[in-house]
Symmetry: C2
Subunit: 338 residues, 2 copies
């Protein structure tokens, strides 16, 4: 299916120097798709070179006179900057001119603007953000990472439904397995919200595996791991910290002396193949879920290679009607409940 | 100071085959210390060989006719097995015959028995378990890992005090820095309990650093990281899962073909030195905090080398009057509050 992406070209640490080349590469790879580059016209146009001739109507620029800063408070992003590139991208999805928006900008602002412009789907109390985490042989989707703290059991059930629909849209698996992040396998474990969420999930019509523990995230025990935004944030940041520590320590060990440097040289192809395999750039693209439209958040520090993955994920989610899938599932749930 | 340890020799995956040799090694290393080996006399005595002659009064056996199984429910551990090795070890601390108890058995049972026998210190609502996590250059103490879920802000403050006193007792640092695990640096971030805990901590008289995030655990930003038992469990288990995945993937990459196997051979000394550096056995020994006595929990799968670290930590905590330190600090706090 032809998909049109609205790309906030001004967001992220590198702005148009990353987003524009990534968009052009994307157009080359996905001949069905079109893009609308959103941002300061006078900045974007000179970067296009011969691309306009190359892609014709598949490449458009939508001017947006303002930019949301990375540390901009939500209130000012939402109320005073009505012509920000982020806002215009969301507006394009709202109006139907585009099927998905992608931004590497300020996460909180993107969530607030998307929620304000697109609104949440019926039955969804709080949009969530899902992230993709590598395992040995595949990957796990984890949500929420969208700062939804103090979640009620019903929110966790909604996250589970959104996560399962995201997995099925992006990975083409009809009934992905869903695990509830807890501190033990047994149903009696955990805090009150999680225990009651377990009950809801057991009767929620999903392919519910049961409780999973922190290590199951990287074991790939289930396709989707559900937790509140506090726990999800801490778990993934702790993992990130550990990964950095391991890589820094390995580097130190390999630099210890002449002999270890020689060993490093010998091991380089192996280490590089390891790095390629778990290259976080390939996991770039967090989905904002529960909105009446597809919105994907790229990591702020993404390079063009990484940003391309966020674009692919947005296109795939739109192509597979992610918001409709969630809406249908939510309607079935409320139908079953009444 | 001379310290007497009561060692539950029957607990853990390997029982006396690990605990007894570890205890004897400990006696050799720490000529000031004595041990009481607790368990089935008929099992323990034959394992001692010439040790009784070697250590004389420093080595005693206390018979205990029962054992707590690894999956034994707390109720039966507590009520029906009054002569379990775990219970007798705790009783020896209670009576003052020993200054610390160490067990590699069932964590929940150890916590329940220790709490029942030793009681909590004044002002402590819930005992906690602290674990030690490696960083690049040192380590971080993290608590709670003792399944205290749904924590109130006051509990987090108590954990902070207990963690700081543990760090100062074991690492000989007078005012260790304490961080509150959160999803952002700013004081306004986080769930309600954590936000209010931040306020308590700012006026709690500790060396409070402020909020830390998941990656700060492995960065070593602070000496002590405080969180509720749910978050702590998930964060450390997720890290554990990631570490396993990385090591399994590296092994795969190094086994790919003849060339990579050769590289592995060359890199072996480096990889081994890396493994030694982060050898989890050296971090063995979780402290049960907030009790009127020192209790240390060894990992169930610990070998004698790892179990020895748990023994050292128990002796060091007792030598430095950990329970008294916590009691004094709690008394100051309640004095300041009234």
């Amino acid at each position: 299916m032809a998909v049109i992406l609205a790309i906030d070209c001004m967001g992220g640490d590198h702005g148009p120097t990353v987003t524009v080349p990534a968009a052009l590469d994307f157009l080359r790879r996905d001949p069905d798709c079109s893009v609308i580059l959103v941002g300061l016209q006078e900045v974007l146009l000179p970067l296009l070179g011969r691309a306009q001739a190359e892609f014709g109507a598949r490449l458009r620029v939508a001017h947006a006179s303002e930019m949301i800063e990375m540390d901009e408070p939500i209130a000012s992003a939402l109320r005073t900057k009505k012509d920000s590139s982020m806002r215009v991208a969301a507006d394009l999805v709202k109006s139907g001119e585009a099927q998905a928006a992608v931004s590497a900008g300020n996460t909180a602002a993107l969530m607030a603007i998307s929620r304000f412009v697109l609104k949440t789907l019926p039955g969804i109390d709080r949009p969530a953000i899902a992230s993709i985490v590598p395992t040995l042989n595949r990957y796990t989707y984890v949500l929420d990472l969208g700062a939804n703290v103090d979640c009620q059991p019903e929110h966790l059930l909604q996250f589970a439904i959104m996560g399962a629909m995201l997995f099925s849209a992006l990975e083409h698996k009809e009934r992905p397995s869903v695990g509830l992040l807890n501190i033990g396998q047994e149903a009696i474990k955990g805090n009150e919200a999680v225990k009651r969420a377990g009950e809801l999930l057991r009767s929620g019509g999903l392919n519910f595996y049961g409780n999973v523990e922190g290590d199951d995230i990287y074991k790939g025990t289930v396709d989707v791991v559900v937790c509140d935004g506090f726990v999800g944030n801490v778990a993934l940041k702790a993992s990130e910290g550990l990964a950095h520590m391991i890589s820094a320590a390995l580097r130190e060990e390999f630099k210890r002396n002449l002999l270890t440097r020689l060993a490093a040289l010998m091991a380089l192809p192996v280490l590089n193949s390891f790095k390629r395999r778990f290259d976080p750039r390939r996991y770039n693209g967090g989905s904002l879920l529960g909105l009446k439209g597809v919105v994907v958040k790229s990591h702020g520090s993404a390079d063009a290679f990484a940003f391309g993955y966020a674009l692919e994920r947005a296109a795939e989610a739109a192509r597979n009607n992610l918001p409709e899938r969630i809406a249908v599932r939510m309607a079935q749930l409320s139908g079953a409940a009444t």
